[in-house]
């Protein structure tokens, strides 16, 4: 942008003039800078997303590229399939149970870490390891921990006198579910803890000091002052947790492959088994699409929360 000639006379007018031309160019420049990323996302998230919906109404297989309309056939087949219903149930069960545990553990862990005088950073660092490690490798460590012959969990329970018989962790549906939920909780609570810790720093200290002055005891302060203030931030952690847990394929796949007797499948692993291994893309897509309502609800909740906090702030 060249500096206008004769600036001496138009000192006042010049900035206004420059601003307008810059603003015009800013608009174009902004679009030029944004377009590549936007195109990438539209082409490789938007288009496949639409394709997922189309596939679920088709008889597509991974062997051929033919595309024939099947109407609601895939959905009908899936809905009358007991394996699918089991997977749907498991997805809900794993997500709800693990998120309840995550919320309790993460809130407690955040309060504990905040109260520490020494070792705060070290504890936070160590607690974060599960979230930072690649999920597939962590799942393998747990597979080994729950090994039917060498399980250290069994050994410890035996020695402590808490186990009479033997736990075949991946041979029994209930035990396998407990194992899967344990791994989900182990992986997600660190993430939620850090979010809650970040949120706590945003809570004004004087509120809780005022509560002490007003004579509130520890528990009363906790439940009537601190936790309600933490609610929005815990909600953020839960929303992310729901997305990451309900759509996770790797933990179930690596721990149990959906077994024993297909009792631990979740929507993600069943979609993988039918759609990729079984080459029935149509049915796989239909199964995966049942996750969509969850995601829509989470997205809406997220936007609502954003707006509410914004208005409050």
């Amino acid at each position: 942008m060249p500096v206008p000639e004769g600036a001496g006379e138009t000192v006042v007018a010049a900035p206004a003039l420059r601003r307008r031309t810059l603003a015009d160019r800013e608009d174009t420049l902004g679009r030029i800078l944004l377009t590549p990323a936007l195109l990438y996302v539209i082409l490789l998230v938007g288009v496949p997303f639409v394709l997922a919906i189309l596939l679920s109404f088709s008889r597509a297989t991974s062997g051929s590229l033919a595309f024939s309309w099947a109407g609601l056939q895939n959905f009908a087949a899936v809905l009358s399939d007991p394996q699918f219903r089991r997977a749907l149930q498991n997805t809900v069960l794993f997500t709800v149970v693990s998120q309840i545990l995550v919320v309790v553990l993460a809130t407690a862990a955040a309060l504990v870490i905040d109260a520490l005088m020494v070792g705060k950073r070290a504890v936070r660092f160590l607690i974060l390891l599960p979230w930072a490690a690649p999920v597939s490798l962590a799942a393998m460590a747990w597979t080994w921990i729950f090994d039917s012959t060498f399980s250290v969990v069994n050994w410890t329970l035996k020695v402590a006198g808490l186990l009479k018989g033997w736990f075949y962790w991946f041979g029994d549906p209930t035990l396998a579910m407990i194992a899967i939920i344990t791994v989900h909780v182990w992986r997600m609570f660190p993430f939620a803890t850090v979010i809650v810790l970040a949120g706590r720093t945003a809570i004004p200290q004087d509120v809780s000091e005022q509560a002490v002055i007003d004579g509130a005891g520890f528990w009363r302060k906790l439940f009537q002052v601190e936790l309600p203030l933490l609610l929005p931030i815990v909600a953020v952690a839960v929303l992310f947790g729901v997305v990451f847990t309900s759509t996770d394929l790797s933990i179930v796949w690596l721990l149990t492959r959906g077994g024993p007797y297909n009792s631990t499948h979740v929507l993600a692993s069943l979609a993988f088994q039918r759609g990729i291994l079984g080459a029935d893309l149509g049915q796989g897509a239909a199964i995966a699409l049942f996750l969509l309502p969850v995601l829509v609800i989470v997205a809406v909740a997220m936007l609502r929360l954003a707006r509410r906090v914004e208005v409050g702030a």
Binding site: A108, A132, L281
Partner: protein, 287 residues
């Protein structure tokens, strides 16, 4: 008085004990990787029914056998190479697309930019589970089955949205005055971006590089869907899927691989986690 100080000591003890409990729960699998990776086989493969053999410690001297086997007798290093190669390309693509987009959303696009930013962020919530089936069709149309290029193409679908969002937050934290001052001094917007903003954004770009790379190292689902030959796998796929002899896992080497891969990623990730969290919650908290 004495009772009161006793109560205080007990409270502190309870506090540190609970901190310890959380830490033990979090760290235990890593300790288990470590033990398994360095235990001799005869110390490792003792059935848990043998209550006199304590599995929590080294009963025999530690060994490097499993680590040697991992490096010399398995494709682990090939997988590390593949991951580095794919990671580098994905990082490059991500930076090229996400950094300008982040700046654009932070400064140039106004009110609709805000909405567009949230829209891009929401795509980060669209999980691989919903997309791996249509992608498998797209990948086979493009003829990229079992090719690392499939991953190079697909991984930016989650790195770009997230890194755009991170960069947007980062650019917003750079004072606007700085740029306005430079423009009053006669720079055009474009040269302000190149000469003023870009040098200030280096640390933000570094964060994006680290995150894009760790996201690539952690990814499992797409790799499982697209890559089938052992020689083309990434670390996070090869180790859990292909480190087997027949039906038997090499647990020692497997845990060594998990340990050697996870710990560096975890440390780097830890250093940058605060930016990650403020990026994730920025929408909800205006942090």
């Amino acid at each position: 008085m004495r009772v009161r100080s006793l109560v205080r000591v007990l409270k502190q003890a309870a506090l540190y004990l609970s901190a310890l409990a959380f830490t033990v729960f979090a760290v235990f699998p890593f300790y288990w990787m470590f033990l398994t990776a360095f235990k001799q086989n005869r110390d490792l493969y003792v059935g848990a029914t043998n209550l006199s053999h304590i599995p929590w410690i080294f009963n025999d001297p530690p060994t490097l056998e499993h680590v040697k086997l991992l490096f010399a007798g398995t494709p682990y290093l090939t997988w590390v190479g593949n991951t580095a190669y794919i990671g580098a390309l994905v990082v490059l693509i991500t930076v090229i697309f996400a950094v300008p987009a982040g700046y654009s959303l932070a400064r140039l696009t106004g009110a609709w930019g805000e909405r567009m930013g949230i829209g891009i962020f929401l795509t980060y919530l669209v999980p691989p589970t919903l997309l791996f089936i249509p992608f498998s069709r797209v990948i086979s149309v493009l003829g990229l089955q079992n090719s690392p290029w499939a991953l190079v193409l697909v991984y930016p679908t989650f790195t770009i949205p997230f890194c755009t969002w991170l960069m947007m937050g980062f650019f917003r934290s750079i004072p606007k005055d700085l740029e306005e001052q430079a423009m009053i001094d006669g720079y055009s917007r474009l040269s302000v971006i190149l000469k003023v903003v870009f040098p200030l954004a280096i640390s933000g770009i570094l964060t994006v590089v680290i995150f894009a790379f760790t996201l690539v190292m952690q990814e499992f689902v797409y790799a499982l869907t697209f890559i089938s030959s052992v020689g083309k796998m990434t670390v996070s796929l090869g180790v859990p899927v292909a480190l087997v002899r027949g039906d038997v896992f090499y647990w020692g080497s497997l845990m060594a691989a998990c340990l050697i891969t996870s710990v560096p990623i975890a440390i780097v990730y830890n250093l940058f986690i605060d930016r990650f969290i403020s990026g994730l919650t920025a929408g909800a908290l205006k942090g």
